[in-house]
């Protein structure tokens, strides 16, 4: 009986029910993966189909000929590159800003006891649940007063503010799993409080910061409602808003639309796949713990 053997928790014999179960598992996995990736494949194929063929026959899963004209036209005669640049600029400000704020807050919540700690813990949780539609209404006027409306910096500040609570939660969870002995021995060796943070804590926190940074990047890159409301000129629009406009403007040019979609999604998917393991662990811990 293989089940009794200590090192084998599962029987390895190829019995009929076993084979049937494995086959069923792989069929289900295949169906799910097809459902997930199908839309992306359709998008990619459409972007490579010549527009004349699309107009005549619609989308097909096997375009007769491959053409990159849509990409050339997208980059050459639409403001796509401007939108791309704006998205990158917003993220370039929002990611470091939110990371600094979230790291500080996470260190305070994980390592210190202070008056109001419980309040801030709850605030971090509640802040993740605030409805964007409610805040957007008064934020618009606020940004106008600050001269930050229709401004890359203004949108970046808003994105950073909205990413900070969850990033804090992610980093706090990460810090809680780092034992405190190292810091204590650093302190015994005479390091100042700031030296302990800078030379011991921050290096240990670096992998968590990569995951949190990617989360902030994804959030900022994908964000729609604030960008739609605040960015009203071509020179400031971000990619999601550009794509949204394209849907209205190029209703019949699906080759162009899908080409834009492919280029817009590549950075997030690449970034996500690189850190997905840690990020998913953090997200899951976020759900388990809040």
């Amino acid at each position: 009986m293989s089940a009794r053997t200590p090192n084998l928790s599962r029987p390895t014999a190829l019995t009929l029910p076993h084979v049937a179960r494995r086959t069923g598992l792989y069929v289900l996995l295949g169906v799910w993966l097809a459902a997930i990736l199908g839309p992306y494949v359709v998008m990619l194929l459409t972007s490579l189909t010549p527009s004349s063929q699309l107009a005549a026959a619609g989308a097909s899963l096997w375009p007769g000929e491959v053409s990159t004209d849509a990409y050339r036209e997208l980059l050459g005669s639409t403001p796509f590159l401007t939108y791309l640049r704006n998205s990158l600029l917003v993220a370039a400000v929002a990611v470091p800003l939110a990371l600094v704020c979230a790291s500080g807050a996470a260190i305070a919540l994980s390592r210190f006891e202070f008056v109001g700690r419980q309040f801030f813990m709850t605030a971090v949780l509640v802040a993740q649940l605030l409805p964007a539609v409610l805040l957007v209404i008064s934020l618009q006027g606020q940004l106008r007063v600050l001269n930050l409306l229709d401004n890359v910096l203004g949108l970046a500040l808003v994105h950073a503010a909205f990413a900070t609570p969850f990033a804090t939660w992610l980093l706090k969870g990460f810090l809680d799993s780092i034992p405190r002995e190292l810091e204590e021995s650093g302190r015994i060796d005479g390091a100042s409080s700031w030296q302990v943070v800078r030379m011991i804590l921050l290096p240990l926190l670096a992998p968590g910061m990569v995951a949190a940074g990617t989360y902030i990047f994804i959030l900022s890159w994908n964000e729609f409602l604030y960008a739609l409301t605040f960015m009203q000129s071509t020179s400031t629009r971000t990619l999601p808003i550009g794509l949204h406009l394209f849907i209205g403007e190029y209703q019949i040019r699906w080759d162009l639309l899908t080409a834009g979609g492919v280029l817009a999604v590549l950075p997030v998917i690449a970034g996500f796949l690189i850190v997905q393991k840690r990020l998913v662990a953090g997200l899951a811990a976020g759900a388990v713990k809040g």
Partner: protein
């Protein structure tokens, strides 16, 4: 404050480790005291306070005032906006749509997420890669999700209608997004598509916290697969399921991007939710007070869920 993790929910340890908690959990040391903590907190307080806290308070104040988009608050009107909203003839339909959208999407996500989590927990080749690929919809911009599905659902050129015709299911194109009977269910389906992966991964994390020894012990005691799930696995993952479901209910109710882009709430009002109505009232009708009131009304209803959520997570959060 010390907390002994007793429930399996505590096993989804933050960060990387997810080992069984019971034997070697060291007693948490007391945290350091001091004003230094506020120095570390300060940047976050300033940023979140000015761009989330302050606007929140001001938006709520808007809901009780007449507000001009350009010149600001015009005068206090008390609960007039709320009275207008609930006495409006469209309110019943918008409320019903919001319930269908929120509960429909989350119920399906929970169901499929449970199945998905079990699939992801099985042993198979390239599991790590598969888990990563399965999460891609979560990282995809909502605009892009909308764009892909508008194209797939396109009545004339889309692949779905093409496939339905080829299979002989229908002989005329179905305009999923522009018929009032199909618009909202289609939006729910797209949201389910986007939301299942996160649900699955969160439940997966809880599943991984269930010690295999427990399952085996139950199986040896004569539990069938269903019995093991009911008596061992389900009690262990229930806290996670509850918390994730609450979180998703709140997020889905507040999620306006897909509806705004794919149908704009139409045709007619057939897919208009409270969040969308809030945005439309503020930005199409230029009535900021009324728009804020819709959002405040929804937030008030959701606050019940928020309180539940805080209570459920408080155990873990207090550490």
């Amino acid at each position: 404050m010390t907390m002994t993790p007793t429930r399996a929910a505590g096993a989804g340890a933050p960060g990387t480790r997810r080992a069984a908690v019971a034997p070697a959990a060291p007693r948490p040391r007391p945290r350091r005291r001091g004003l230094e903590a506020y120095v570390y907190l300060a940047p976050a307080i300033v940023l979140v306070g000015s761009f989330a806290g302050y606007p929140l308070v001001r938006s709520v104040w808007f809901a009780f005032n007449e507000v001009n988009p350009f010149s600001g608050v015009q005068g206090f009107v008390g609960v007039q906006h709320f009275v207008d909203i609930v006495t409006h003839p469209d309110f019943a339909q918008i409320g019903r749509n919001t319930l269908v959208w929120t509960f429909g999407a989350v119920a399906l996500q929970l169901l499929l997420g449970l199945v998905g989590a079990h699939l992801l927990n099985a042993r198979f080749a390239l599991r790590g890669v598969y888990r990563g690929l399965a999460m891609i919809p979560w990282a995809t911009p909502s605009v892009l999700v909308a764009l892909m599905w508008i194209w797939i659902l396109d009545p004339n050129h889309g692949v779905l209608n093409g496939a339905l015709r080829a299979l002989g299911v229908t002989d005329r194109p179905i305009a999923f997004l522009s018929e009032s009977s199909t618009a909202l269910p289609t939006l729910v389906a797209v949201d389910v598509w986007q939301g299942v992966p996160l649900f699955a991964v969160m439940i997966l994390a809880a599943l991984q916290g269930v010690a295999p020894e427990l399952r085996e012990a139950a199986a040896m005691d004569g539990c069938g697969p269903v019995g093991v799930f009911r008596h061992v696995v389900l009690p262990a993952i229930l806290p996670t399921i509850l918390i994730t479901t609450l979180l998703r209910l709140i997020w889905t109710a507040n999620y306006v991007d897909l509806v705004l882009i794919m149908t704009g709430g139409g045709p007619g009002l057939s897919s208009t939710t409270l969040s969308l109505q809030s945005y439309v009232t503020a930005y199409k009708a230029m009535d900021f007070g009324g728009g804020a009131a819709y959002a405040v009304l929804q937030a008030a209803v959701l606050s019940v869920l928020v309180v539940l959520y805080i209570r459920l997570t408080a155990k873990g959060a207090r550490r």
